[in-house]
């Protein structure tokens, strides 16, 4: 006897049901991973430190009307009244910056699972690799989204305190972050996954590579955001349909288009022609304000933004086939230096032999070996052109070659202070009398020495003609070395120093004098001397600090 069910009530065939069960299982795993990951991250002081710093930065982005600077402006000094819509817009325009900071904050969780061998527990379960990576990506996005949420909260407070337009419209406040910032951050989150999966990009090399990627994205955004000559005649409603759906990653062009078309009637065409700036700095005239109560945006533009999100998602899924390979690569080395065979560097042993008569010299020599023995061949080869330019190049090229030399040592500066933690030798050295002091002195000596060796030909080049410039370069080198050590001691991470160094180096290459050994004037040298003093204070304080009960 059999009964026939109506078509709509018929049980699903076994295959789709199994597929649905599998999907639900993967979903549960992904949620569990996401929650655990978020707990792990948000329970660190670093996360709350960055959240506080970003909140302060967000407050600084919304200066009062009598301030002498602007962060987002049209032309030289035009900005919107602080309505919810304009506050949301200003904060969304900082998305490229958040994406940079966010990457350095979130990256490393996949690698952490490899390093802590949690992966051995996860990888041997029925967990789908795609669920794992998507959970990590979602976790990255949630952390960065949380920070953006904090900036929006600060924005709301700023809107109320600045009191230019106290009408709160939460949708207008959140809308730009949702459609501009979120897709931008999703791409950063996907990069963070890839940079953990590819062994070469896991450490300092990846931090440098991402900065290069970010600068490239920044420049493509800036290049595209030109003035639309038709803007001044435009009536917002009809032209909305003409709004281009494509956008650069940070949506600079989309925002430029919206600004020009929505405020064309409120400010002079001349001002519009000057374009808009993000991170403008000081202004030459008192702020002029326009009304900005809503961000008018065509649905096609929003779908265009979602393409970036979809692209990021696809990028994460593309990394799935590499995950097991990456985990296997990570499992081979016993330390973070990888399985690379150390070079004996016999010539260096001979050079450093005179040092080894005293215990302090032995320490300095060992530190030098630790920094140099694992270097690949290309690293040694890179010194030839750099030193060649330092010896024979024109002054500006000499300065850039010096910067290049320091760049080759960036991981030494940023990681030496972390060595005992990374190699799990803390307990071996901390139980020796006055070991911290001895090691710190040896590491500072080694780093300053290497920073000087990196620019030795350049200093030789300048020593006779411009001894002041050579002395200035010496001071810069010492400042860099000590700040690397101090930042690692202070933050227990290499990333803050690496990020700041990359920004400063980039700014120097663009003409700022911060690390330009060819720049005349004493201001930069004096600033570096002050920096050396401050770094020394931090390092001295670290000897007194007793975080684990050690003295």
């Amino acid at each position: 006897m059999s009964a026939t069910l109506p078509t709509g009530l018929a049980p699903a065939s076994p295959a789709p049901r199994a597929a649905a069960r599998g999907l639900a299982h993967a979903g549960r795993i992904a949620v569990a991973l996401l929650v655990a990951d978020l707990r792990q991250r948000t329970r660190s002081l670093r996360f709350w430190g960055v959240a506080l710093a970003i909140s302060i930065a967000a407050w600084w982005c919304l200066p009062p009307v009598n301030a002498s600077y602007m962060i987002v402006a049209i032309g030289d000094h035009h900005r919107g009244f602080y309505s919810s819509a304009w506050v949301g817009m200003v904060l969304a325009m900082m998305s490229l910056l958040w994406s940079l900071i966010g990457f350095y904050l979130v990256r490393g969780t996949v690698q952490r699972d490899f390093d802590t061998r949690v992966w051995q527990l996860l990888g041997t379960t029925s967990m789908r690799r795609s669920a794992y990576l998507l959970a990590k990506w979602a976790s990255h996005l949630a952390v960065m989204g949380g920070l953006v949420g904090a900036t929006l909260a600060v924005g709301l407070v700023a809107q109320w305190v600045r009191a230019e337009d106290r009408h709160v419209d939460l949708w207008e406040l959140v809308k730009p972050s949702l459609f501009i910032t979120l897709p931008t951050l999703s791409v950063s989150a996907a990069f963070a996954i890839w940079f953990d999966v590819i062994p070469l990009l896991r450490r300092t090399a990846g931090n440098i590579a991402f900065f290069v990627v970010w600068v490239t994205l920044l420049s493509t955004s800036a290049v595209g955001s030109g003035h639309d000559k038709q803007a001044h005649v435009a009536d917002a409603a009809p032209v909305l349909e003409q709004q281009p759906w494509r956008s650069d990653l940070a949506a600079m062009q989309t925002m430029q288009w919206s600004l020009e078309h929505q405020i064309a009637r409120q400010i002079p065409d001349r001002t519009l022609r000057d374009g808009f700036c993000v991170g403008c700095g000081s202004i030459t005239a008192p702020p002029a304000r326009f009304l900005w109560t809503t961000w008018e945006v065509a649905p096609a533009v929003l779908w265009g933004r979602m393409l970036w999100l979809a692209g990021a998602l696809a990028g994460v899924l593309l990394a799935v086939p590499l995950l097991d390979w990456a985990a296997a690569r990570a499992a081979v080395p016993a330390t973070s230096d990888g399985a690379r065979t150390p070079r004996p560097l016999r010539w260096l042993q001979a050079v450093l032999r005179p040092l080894q008569g005293t215990s302090r010299g032995v320490l300095v020599a060992a530190e030098v070996f630790l920094v140099l023995r694992m270097r690949p061949l290309w690293w040694w080869a890179a010194w030839l052109p750099l030193w060649g330019v330092q010896l024979f190049g024109p002054r500006h090229a000499v300065a850039l070659a010096m910067l290049g030399g320091w760049m080759l040592l960036i991981d030494a500066f940023s990681r030496t202070g972390l060595r005992d933690h990374e190699h799990r030798t803390v307990e071996l050295v901390a139980t020796a009398p006055r070991a911290q002091r001895r090691l710190l002195a040896a590491r500072a000596t080694m780093l300053v020495g290497l920073a000087w060796v990196a620019i030795a030909p350049g200093m030789l080049h300048e020593a006779f003609a411009h001894p002041a410039l050579a002395a200035s370069a010496c001071v810069m080198a010492a400042s860099l070395a000590l700040w690397g050590l101090a930042a690692a001691t202070l933050t227990r991470s290499s990333r803050p120093f690496e990020l700041v160094f990359l920004i400063v180096a980039y700014a120097t290459s663009q003409g700022l004098p911060w690390l330009d050994a060819s720049a005349r004037g004493h201001a930069v040298t004096l600033a570096h001397l002050a920096g050396i003093a401050l770094a020394a204070v931090i390092l001295a304080a670290s000897l007194r600090a007793d975080p684990r009960g050690m003295r």
Partner: protein, 307 residues
């Protein structure tokens, strides 16, 4: 009952330790130790590693004092550090250095004088049998070889107090035996604190035992005293396999072994567990298991050597 009677090199005076604001994980009331090998035994989570870290100056007691030859090591850790050798349970090495270079580096960290260092490094390498591979990079060392490097570094300053935390983990049987012999050789005029949960390690080398449970010292005496305390409390009992689960539930069983169709148990308790049970000579492991069972049940009488 025999109590250890040693010159007071190391004294724990009402020491307690807690993580953050949590409950105390270690409440070592009073303990006095002198030269010789002292085995520190206890189940996982008993507080052995916490006590070891306090003795190695890596953690400070929340209350009480640890005195090394009369000096409070929380106030003046360098007094102990100058004469301390410590082998942590888990440690790393610098893979870019050879064993000789790594030991020379650590000798400098410990503040050893330059001229004698090379000789001392060679001695330590010889003691742990690494002379032939001393110039190979540590990146290529096996886990057991790295453990031996760890032992060598602990010996560099010829320490008076040698603290070794789970030292035989990762060693193969031959290396384990070699390490026990080394410990016996080293004991002489120094205090060796050997923390482990492997009873046979202690049985082979320790002259005194300190047993921790739930952060408290539940025994301080010689291994023989511990065995004596368990004498008359060990029974060999042969039962059918079907009874095994019930027997395990009802009694403290330290061993079980299939003998033909039956199962032979070593049961610990004041009375025979059932018909056919015969008195047995307790091993150190039996005595240790019996002690932990009694310590977990406060109504049970404890051996006299309990601190």
């Amino acid at each position: 009952m025999t109590k250890t009677c040693l010159p007071a090199w190391l004294v724990l005076d009402d020491v307690s330790f807690a993580y953050g604001r949590g409950p105390a994980v270690n409440r070592s009331r009073n303990l006095t130790l002198g030269p010789g090998i002292v085995g520190l035994l206890g189940p996982n989570g008993a507080g052995k590693s916490t006590l070891m870290r306090m003795l190695a100056t890596l953690a400070r007691p929340c209350s009480g004092r640890i005195l090394w030859r009369g000096t409070d090591i929380a106030r003046a850790p360098d007094v102990l550090r100058a004469t301390l050798g410590y082998l942590p349970q888990d440690f790393g090495v610098y893979p870019a250095l050879s064993a000789r270079e790594f030991l020379t580096f650590l000798a400098a960290v410990k503040g050893l004088a330059g001229a004698a260092t090379a000789e001392r490094v060679d001695e330590c390498l010889a003691q742990v049998g690494l002379v032939e591979v001393a110039d190979r990079a540590l990146a290529g060392y096996s886990g057991g070889m790295r453990q031996r490097v760890g032992i060598a570094q602990a010996l560099l300053n010829d320490p008076q107090l040698l603290v070794v935390d789970e030292p035989t983990v990762g060693l193969d049987p031959a290396e384990r035996v070699r390490f026990r012999h080394l410990l016996t050789e080293l004991a002489g005029e120094r205090l060796v604190l050997l923390s482990t949960h492997i009873v046979s390690d202690v049985e082979a080398s320790a002259a005194a035992l300190v047993i921790l449970q739930a952060g408290r010292i539940v025994f301080n005496g010689t291994p023989q005293a511990l065995i004596d305390a368990a004498r008359g409390r060990a029974w060999d009992w042969t039962i059918a396999p079907a009874q095994l689960a019930a027997a395990r539930k009802a009694f403290v069983v330290s061993q079980s072994m299939h003998r033909g169709a039956d199962v032979q148990l070593r049961v610990l308790g004041a009375r025979p567990p059932g018909a056919g049970a015969v008195p047995a000579e307790p091993s150190l492991e039996d005595a240790y298991t019996d002690l932990l069972a009694r310590a977990a049940a406060p109504s049970q009488p404890m051996p006299e050597a309990v601190a």
